[in-house]
C-alpha cells in the first residue's frame, strides 16, 4: 500500500539523529514489547508479513509521532484483537477472562526459546525454474495496490539489472492478501541512481532491492 512507511526518497525529515552509546532499550517497556512480539509470532497464528502490513496501516500522523516500539505495541494489540487472541472487554479490563488454549497451542516456552532468537527460513523448494538470469534487464511493475507489497514506490516502473538470484521465497504480498505462502523466485535488482532520481543525482550511486518475480518483467 502507498503509505508513510514507504519512506525512500522523501524530503523534509532533517538530519539523522545519532546517539552515542545507545542502550538496547531506552525504557524498560520496550523490551517487554519485543518479548511479546516474539512470543506472539511464535504462536503461529500470523507471520512477520502480517505484522509489517499492520504497521503500514497505522495512520501516517501516528506512524511518524509514535516511537518504534509504540508502533509495535499498537500493532500487536490491534492484530491480536482482529484475530481473536482476546476481546474488547479483556483489553478494557487488562485481564484475560478465558483460557486461550483453544486459540493457539504453540506457546513459546523456555525449552524452545531459541525459536525466538533465530531468523526463520523463508526459502521454499519447488519445481519452477527462475524466469530471469543474472545480467537480464528487467522493468519493475507499476502498482497501486492497497494490499501488502515489498516493492517500494521509488523502484516502481524502473529499469534495472538482475545481479543475483536468491532462491524461491515465501511471497509477502500473497501471505497478507490471500493467506498463502505462494513462493516466488527472488532476485537482487540493481538500478542506476539516475534511473530512480533523475539526472541531478550523484552518478556514482546505484540502488539495489530484493524483488520477487511477479514484480518484474523482461525489457
Amino acid at each position: 500500500m502507498n503509505s508513510i512507511h514507504d519512506l525512500g526518497g522523501m524530503h523534509g525529515f532533517g538530519p539523522v539523529g545519532l546517539e552515542d552509546k545507545e542502550p538496547a532499550f531506552h525504557v524498560s517497556w520496550e523490551g517487554r514489547v519485543l518479548g511479546l512480539q516474539r512470543s506472539i509470532l511464535a504462536l503461529g497464528l500470523w507471520n512477520i508479513d502480517v505484522f509489517r502490513h499492520a504497521q503500514e496501516k497505522i495512520r501516517p500522523i501516528d506512524y511518524l509521532s509514535w516511537s518504534y516500539y509504540e508502533r509495535w505495541m499498537h500493532t500487536l494489540t490491534a492484530t491480536a484483537l482482529e484475530r481473536g487472541l482476546f476481546d474488547e472487554e479483556e483489553l478494557r479490563t487488562g485481564k484475560g477472562l478465558s483460557d486461550g488454549s483453544s486459540i493457539a497451542q504453540k506457546k513459546l516456552t523456555m525449552k524452545d526459546i531459541n525459536k525466538a532468537f533465530l531468523r526463520g527460513n523463508f526459502e521454499r523448494m519447488g519445481d519452477s525454474e527462475p524466469e530471469f538470469s543474472i545480467g537480464d534487464l528487467v522493468v519493475t511493475k507499476q502498482t497501486y495496490t492497497a494490499g501488502h507489497t515489498r516493492l517500494p514506490r521509488y523502484a516502481r516502473d524502473k529499469l534495472g539489472t538482475v545481479i543475483a538470484i536468491r532462491g524461491r521465497h515465501v511471497f509477502p504480498d500473497s501471505v497478507v492478501d490471500q493467506g498463502s505462502e505462494d513462493p516466488q523466485w527472488l532476485y537482487t535488482v540493481e538500478f542506476e541512481g539516475c534511473e530512480l532520481w533523475g539526472e541531478a543525482v550523484d552518478p556514482t550511486v546505484s540502488n539495489l532491492i530484493d524483488a520477487f518475480e511477479p514484480y518484474l518483467s523482461r525489457l
Binding site: 545519532l18 512470543s39 477472562l97 513459546l108 526459546i113 517500494p152
Partner: protein, 208 residues
C-alpha cells in the same frame, strides 16, 4: 533506562509514557492470563537482546574475513553457511548476505519500508536506522547522510545502497585498515564498529 526520550518520538511527555506503560502491561497480563505467553520467556528474550547479541558478533566475522581469504570467499558466497560452518561462532539465521567494500565500491544497508536488519550478527538496530531521516534520505542522497556520520568518501567511489526489501539480510565487510598486519584476529575485531558493518562509517584505526 529512566529517560523516555526518543529521537524519532515527537511527544515524549510523561503522560504518553504512562499511558503506553499501562497499555503494555495490560497486553502482557491478558496474554499471560490466557496462557498464551510466559513472563519468564519474555524476561529471557530481553536478556538475550540486551546482553548476548550485538555488533561484537559481526566484528568477529569481519576480522576472520580479513585474516582468512578462504573464509572471506565462503562468506561472500553464502554468509549464513560460512558463519554456521565455523565451530566458534554462534549460529545465525538464513539468507545472510555479506557485501565487501573495496577501493572501488562502498556498500550501505537500509530498510526503507520497515526496519530489516541483520540482528543475528549486529543485535538490535539503533534508533537512527529505524528513523524517517535515514530511511528517506540514504537511498537518494547517500553522501550527505554519510557526512553526518563523519564519513567522507572519495568523489569517484561507487556507492551501492542495499534496500532490505525481502527476508535477506545484509552485512557490510568494511576494508581492513592499513598497517594492521601485526594485529591478531581478536585485536582486529575491536576495530570493527557496528556502523562500519552497516556502511555508514569506517572502521577504527590503530591510532584511535
Amino acid at each position: 533506562m529512566s529517560d523516555a526520550h526518543h529521537h524519532d518520538h515527537a511527544h515524549s511527555d510523561a503522560s504518553t509514557l504512562t499511558d503506553t506503560q499501562k497499555r503494555v502491561k495490560a497486553l502482557e497480563s491478558i496474554l499471560v492470563d490466557k496462557g498464551l505467553v510466559d513472563r519468564k520467556v519474555i524476561d529471557q528474550i530481553i536478556e538475550h537482546f540486551e546482553n548476548k547479541v550485538g555488533p561484537h558478533i559481526g566484528a568477529r566475522v569481519v576480522a576472520r574475513a580479513w585474516v582468512s581469504s578462504t573464509f572471506k570467499q565462503s562468506l561472500i558466497e553464502d554468509a549464513t553457511k560460512a558463519i554456521n560452518g565455523e565451530a566458534d561462532f554462534s549460529e545465525v539465521g538464513q539468507h545472510l548476505i555479506a557485501v565487501e567494500n573495496s577501493d572501488e565500491i562502498h556498500n550501505v544497508v537500509v530498510c526503507t519500508l520497515c526496519s530489516c536488519y541483520p540482528w543475528d550478527v549486529l543485535g538490535l538496530p539503533p534508533v537512527w536506522y529505524k528513523s524517517a531521516p535515514y530511511r528517506s534520505r540514504v537511498v537518494s542522497e547517500p553522501r550527505s547522510v554519510l557526512q553526518e556520520f563523519g564519513l567522507e568518501l572519495p568523489k569517484d567511489r561507487k556507492i551501492r545502497i542495499w534496500d532490505s526489501t525481502a527476508e535477506t539480510r545484509y552485512l557490510v565487510i568494511p576494508q581492513r585498515p592499513t598497517n594492521t598486519e601485526s594485529m591478531s584476529e581478536a585485536e582486529l575485531a575491536r576495530l570493527v564498529t557496528r556502523d562500519s558493518m552497516i556502511g555508514t562509517s569506517d572502521v577504527l584505526t590503530t591510532n584511535e
